[in-house]
Amino acid sequence: MEIVIKIKKRGLIFSLDAAIAVTVVVIILITSAYYLSTASKESTSQVQLIKIGNDLLTIFEKEGVIDWVVANDSVAPSDAVTVAISESIVNVSRYLPASYNALIEVSDIRETPLNDVATGITCVSSPPCCFGTGCNGTFNVTTLPLTRANNYHVIAHASSTFTGKNTSISLHTPGKTFVFATIKERTYVTTLPHSFEFGINRNLKFNATNMLIDWFRVLGDKSYAANTSRPLPSNFTFIGTGERLFAYVIKDIFDQPRYAKFYIWIE
């Protein structure tokens, strides 16, 4: 009697083992088939979206749309949270097929303004050092909240206040001094990149001798970029992205390279 029960149990275990194996294999095969089919579909639509986005930026370049955005960029007030690129100029609906939508972002459009009403400035030497048109002497400044820690160059826009006198701009951080070189009229850029922290950077001190600086910009960080105002979809829609480098030239003088980035999706 005892032997029969043992044999019966052994058979049951074999059958159970086989059934589990079959179930596992079938589940694996069905899952693989599902992922295979969905992966294939995604790649085609993603490539199509990204191609359309790249075409859009190329057409913008040919039509001078990005140049217009850069040329008509005005200094935003220091308390401006976001600066939008006007949809009347970068109107993607005029270019995209129906049901497509896109957001365009252009790098290095925003700036930190420096004047007597701008926030985050404290005069170190002979206050008041800031006036309606800019700041002079030695003063502390803060950056916009940077989106990543990195080594960035700083560009400053300044004018000479006293003709015939020596002029200079320098940026000081604890233990380091960064000198500026002129790249075109009223535009100065640091000769070496400075290491910035994530978020608002507060340990920055400008020294402007016989110069009035009206704004500065940390080159390349997303916080100094501006974009069109269409909201990105918050559901699981695929958003294609890509970017293009623009060499902006104004009055035959090279200004600085800028990146235009697109985010494109199907509604």
Partner: protein, 164 residues
């Protein structure tokens, strides 16, 4: 139950499970082979279509003045391109492509002998302006790529479809 009966029942179950497993595996294996072949073909069509649409919207073709000679010499074109500048189509090239090239000639130049093609330029609202090739109506195996181009001073959509 006797010992012999238990062994035979177990054997039957094992054989039944084995047959089911082999059948499922064979069917799925076949299905996968077919799918893999279809997918390979589909991917090939996508890659070809991407290359062709890039070639058409970015390049003037080789020789770049082919549109002026093709009426006299249909074999003059080595590489087909419709662009005057990057993403700006030349209306002369498009017109010569549409009216002076047979479908077979286009397929030979683009090296898409196995497939049919359909070329269309549309307004942004989808209204076709001009078309060439065979419309893939009813075809299940079609890869269609839309591109944004400047054509006759307006932004329009150029579509190129490869189908079988």
């Amino acid at each position: 139950m006797k010992r012999g009966q238990a062994v035979v029942t177990d054997l039957f179950i094992a054989i039944a499970v084995f047959i089911v497993l082999v059948t499922i595996t064979t069917v799925i294996w076949d299905l996968y082979t077919i799918r893999l072949k279809m997918r390979q073909e589909y991917e090939d069509m996508i890659v070809k279509n991407l290359q062709i649409s890039d070639q058409l919207v970015k390049n003037p073709g080789v020789p770049n003045d082919w549109e002026y000679v093709i009426q006299q010499n249909p074999d003059y074109v080595d590489v087909l391109g419709l662009a005057f500048d990057d993403r700006i189509l030349s209306s002369k090239k498009v017109e010569m492509f549409r009216t002076n090239m047979t479908n077979q000639k286009v397929k030979d130049i683009l090296k898409i002998g196995l497939y049919n093609y359909y070329f269309v330029i549309k307004e942004q609202n989808g209204t076709p302006i001009l078309a060439k090739g065979n419309n893939p109506i009813g075809s299940f195996n079609t890869v269609n790529l839309a591109r944004l181009v400047r054509y006759k001073d307006r932004t329009r959509i150029m579509e190129f479809a490869l189908w079988k």
